[in-house]
């Protein structure tokens, strides 16, 4: 995926207002199957995989023993004993090795098979409010009623749809905060699907989108990116992802330290912030200061950019919990100067109707 096709801002706004098409084939795909798959997955992942019915997916994390994040990923239950893991490209080897090691080390819960689909399978994502108007048509040949089926899907649901002579897993999910779908299938058919989507979406404002827009879109939503908000020395609790850690499900890797953090608190928290006025965009690595202090910074920016939707600098970063409450003023150091920013709730950007209901400015001037 290139950084951009027509321009980051144009692509970003296409996703917010119409639709965007992303080639996300860099994501790793692992198939885990066998009688022992569920027990195994529930021992290595933080979320409770038992909650998944066939055709459902969940966001979940892979942690090491001290509770640090090995990767964050999506887990889909395809059939009774078959699961699809969608993992970060940069973490694929680490994940694969970690899962293999745990599989061999764990007391045998029954057969567990790991299959790497990444070489033979790719993925596309279509994201944005107009996607539902044209996506069904791309899969509907010879199968009437398909568009209705997509429309009826709930968030994180996954279904299998025929495309030409192949089959794609289509999940209602994404990394942009908009309605959308991710489609996983054989690389041999990706180009054809890409072209068909572009043609079908043209009348609905669909634009091809690159990594740049993918990053600004997820940052506006406050979604973490591995290597920025998450690493092996950062826990899901610190990252604000406690919702995806099922401490009550029984033993899993990292549970003890995560439970302890949940009970006694963390020393730093990931917050979202919005620059108070015109400023250079905050960037990863910039120091975060407590307002009015000059001795040492309280944290670092982990993600930052100019928000195309808000026209202002936004970012994510870690600060001590006493400074993590929305409304707290912070200062971001940019080339030696301090610029004011305020801690805001996630997501940083809300659709205009939602924003009005929550008393949040939809667009900064």
């Amino acid at each position: 995926m290139p950084v951009q096709y027509s321009g980051i801002v144009e692509e970003h706004l296409a996703v917010r207002n119409a639709a965007g098409l992303f080639d996300i084939s860099h994501m790793g795909q692992l198939l885990i199957s066998g009688e022992g798959a569920l027990t195994f997955l529930n021992r290595v992942l933080t979320n409770d995989a038992r909650r998944l019915e066939v055709g459902q997916g969940q966001y979940t994390l892979l942690c090491n023993e001290p509770g640090g994040v090995v990767d964050d990923l999506y887990l889909y239950r395809l059939t009774a004993a078959e699961y699809l893991l969608i993992v970060n490209a940069s973490r694929f080897d680490a994940d694969h090795a970690w899962l293999e090691r745990r599989r061999q080390a764990a007391p045998d819960p029954g057969p567990v098979h790991l299959q790497n689909l990444s070489a033979s399978h790719g993925a596309l994502a279509v994201q944005g409010p107009s996607v539902i108007a044209f996506l069904g048509g791309c899969f509907s040949s010879g199968a009437p009623g398909r568009p209705g089926r997509l429309d009826a899907m709930r968030k994180n649901e996954i279904i299998s749809l025929p495309f030409q002579d192949a089959s794609f897993h289509v999940a209602r999910t994404g990394y942009t905060g908009e309605d959308g779908f991710e489609m996983f299938g054989p690389v041999t058919h990706l180009e054809s699907l890409w072209n068909q989507l572009l043609a079908a979406g043209q009348a609905h404002g669909l634009k091809p989108c690159g990594l740049g827009a993918r990053d600004t879109l997820r940052t506006e939503m406050g979604y973490p990116l591995y290597g920025h908000e998450l690493d092996e020395h950062t826990t899901p609790i610190e990252a604000g992802l406690g919702f995806f850690v099922a401490l009550d499900k029984g033993e899993f890797v990292g549970r003890t330290p995560l439970l302890q953090q949940r009970q006694s608190g963390v020393s730093r928290k990931c917050v979202a912030f919005l620059m108070a006025g015109a400023s250079p965009p905050p960037r990863p690595g910039y120091p975060i200061w407590e307002t009015g202090t000059t001795v040492e910074p309280v944290g670092r920016v982990t993600s930052g950019t100019q928000s195309p939707s808000l026209g202002r600098g936004i970012g994510l970063g870690y600060v001590p919990p006493r400074l993590a409450k929305p409304g707290t003023m912070l200062a971001i150091e940019i080339r030696g100067r301090h610029y004011a920013a305020s801690v805001v709730p996630k997501p940083i950007y809300r659709r205009p109707a939602e924003a009005a209901a929550n008393g949040v400015p939809a667009k900064a001037v």
Binding site: V3, G7, I8, G212, R283, T305, Q306, R335
Partner: protein, 127 residues
Amino acid sequence: MSQILPELKYAKSHEWVRCQDGVALVGITDHAQHELTDVVFVELPTAGRVLKAGEACAVVESVKTASDIYAPVSGQVTEVNALLSDNPGLVNSDPYGAGWFFKVSLTDPAELTRLMDDAGYRAQVGG
């Protein structure tokens, strides 16, 4: 294909210079603004600052990244483009006009001969 004006001088680092009566008007090229994409913030030198040719003296921020801008000639900054603080997009929409960066009173007019003409710059950017 990006626009390259015949009456300007160009630096390797993609700044242009328009010189008149010992004062150089400085901006960045159409090619540069295109590569940088949507400019969202421009940090300019303060008026009065003395610049040495080749010195980093301004920063252009696009959505994706921050890029240094280098002084193409030596001299004192006499004026900066105040419009850019409210409307940084001028760098994209009018790079050779309303999107200019700053004016410098030249220390050494001979430095201009070290810059490229339009043909030289076109050869550099492959336009």
